[in-house]
Amino acid sequence: MNSYTKTELAVLCLDALDGLEYKHEKALLSFVKTPAELFTDKNSVKKYLAEFFGEAKANTVLLSLNESFAESVVDGLEKRGVTAVTCYSDGYPERLKNIDTPPLVLYAKGDLSLLKSQKTLGAVGSRKTLPNTEALLKEVLKPVAAAGVTLVTGSASGADKTVLSTALESGKVISVLTGGIDHVYPDCNRSIIERVAKCGLVVSEQPPDVVPKFWMFPVRNRIIAGLSDAVLIASGDKKSGARHTADFALNYAKQVYAFPYSVGITSGELCNELIKNGASLCDSAKDLLLEFGLKDEDIEEPVFELDEDEKVLYEAIKNGQEDMTDYCMKNNLKFFEIAPTLSSLEIQGLIVKLAGNRYKPVK
């Protein structure tokens, strides 16, 4: 036995139908008084559908619009351990009701109470996030997540994955998938998404068996923006999908934060542009904690005790000295003389190694 109400079943059934677009489903729902009427008042539903698609298609749609089909959909969900939260359910997040195109059904796996989180922060970025930005993202999000703010992100590699792993370590996270829950994209992140389903929440607007398509990515991003109180854009080039998330967040009147970047770094062009257009600059956890009215005194600024060599090298790297071969040449040093210092700074989390023997400061 499932515990879905008639209304929920009707919405689920409607959502599972083939060939109905979101706008049609929405229109149909506003046409009937309560969704349960979809099962009972077949004549008027048929008439309404016929106006849209013509007689033939309306008939095929109606064939599936019944309780037994809804039951089979629910069976499929239960087999997968997926819970459906419809826009008529109690568990449906208030935040999504306030956006202009709320998903009709959220297919969710994990801790459903997270949908009702007090405080949520969306954090997204590009797949090509630089390692030092990933380190910064981790540092910034750790205290935020630990302070009880639920993080919301996607499932991609790069920034999203960093958000997921940070939150898994120190807080709660919601991962919004693009396709159905059966099809994690990219496949290499399946294991981390499975962990999120255990310790956090994985949701998708698409029924579990839907394969992700390109057009679904920006559509999914509206849910990330919608579920969040504020959004942090960690990275992104001019064409990055993070732009959609930021745009949606602005439309929904949510605060947008972005990491600042030096000029010329492709993976940060979007962030700089957002800041130019009025987004808030974020370079520490403080900025985000203030947004949620949390005290920043609680975060301990880590104290670094650097010796002379470390100080000199750290300053140089902070001043843009990336290439260590270059540094050795300029200062007439042998590489093995600075290698221990480099490692030491790296272990303390002050610098990050990039491919090609380049080093960047985390901050």
């Binding site: 290499c188 981390i192 040449m329 221990p340 210092t341 480099l342 272990i347 090609g356």
Partner: protein, 507 residues
Amino acid sequence: MLSKITSYTLQGLDGLPVDVEVDISRGMPKFDIVGLPDTAVKESKERVRAAIKNSGKNFPVAVITVNLAPADVKKEGSKLDLAIAISLLRATETGMERPIDKTVVLGELSLNGAVRPVTGVLPICLAAKEKGFTTLIIPKANEEEACYIDGIKVIAVSTLNEAVRYFKGEEIAVTKLKKFTPPEEKDFRSDLKYVKGQFIAKRALEIAVSGGHNILMVGAPGAGKTMLAKCIPSIMPDMTFEEALETTAVHSVAGNLTHKSGIIKVRPFMTPHHTATRISLVGGGANVLPGLVSLANNGVLFLDEMPEYARTVLECLRQPIEDGVITVSRAKGSNVYPAKFMLCASMNPCPCGNYGSENAECKCSDAQIKKYRAKISGPLLDRIDLQIHVDNVKYDDLVSTDTEEPSSAVRARVNTARKIQRERFSEDGIRTNSEMSERELAKYCQLSSEDEKLFKKSFETLRLSARGRSRILKVARTIADLDYSENIQRKHLLEAISYRSFDMKEN
């Protein structure tokens, strides 16, 4: 009439004594060889007949039976020609009175009676000495191979007649014993002094060669990976006599020695093309010959563009890297060959080659990069101690007139580090840091409790896999050796940590 003399055949790297017995009796003339001879041995009767005739001797018109004992082991090659001829002549000629019970005869015959070189002289020489033989008759062309072995009298002959004269009691000059000396300084075509910049890679190569560590160089096309690898021979440490013998033995069995090279004094540097098959690498074939991993014994096996090799070929390397020996089993039998080589591999960071590059954008998708890197399996990667990035050289570096350190200076340091290792491991049965097992790690790689803490922290912050621990410790040990340090200090450990870059990409 009956006569007998000892010769040798090879089973892998081991010499196997073969008694060549000849019986001559009256009857319808025929010439038979029994005792599991292979085709080359069977054909030797034609060579023996012609050689005896063309040396001005009489070939007996009688029933000739040659038995090769032990009769149940397959004999191969042409090494037994000379022994058969001598044995036959001893049965017919008069005056070949010299005692032969402590003598071994080796050599192939030419139709005109000349003695031609054979393979495997060095291992046979060693085996014969061990068995208590005192005299070894070998082809003149193989003289150089045997002249380093003390304790056995080597007589090199160039014709069948010369050998006969020896057995008739004439004194033939004994090959002079040579003392093993390292090769003279050579001007290498690829020398580190021609490589501009690349400090990190150069240092890593020095460490790798010093400790015999396997090394993987990851870098964009044109970064200079191959050029760096080609410099490895110029910084390789001198071979010890023991190592030289081991290496020469393998090459001798494989038939790679020319009579001029004699004993191999320069460490081998093997560069198979990426179309290499498994068998060419591990060894095999009809005669169960050694493959490239054995030919690279005590030297370097260089795999350029590693992911281009077939995965099955790469996986074959795992066992020899781990054990230092390879057992090649075929229908003819199974042979054990040494395979202690240093693996040097290079690869691009991604299919397009620009991942992480400063100058060009990488166009590969995540999945493509993953797939490309997955060609090198985790277990194989685990056996590569040093994994470094090689960065692109800048134009300024290329035209700079700064003098770079020459290979000879690096080699001097490498030699010292190797000496320290040899002394340390004299009782452990290993030669280099890379061969250390858990037992030696515990013995020689102690960290202070503070450094241990730091080490642990580095695993957390740098997302190192726990499997990398012993790898880093081994490298740290080598760095400490290069620094003449008794114990691994913090700076050595930290430097060792900085040479891992490939395996930390995984989240």
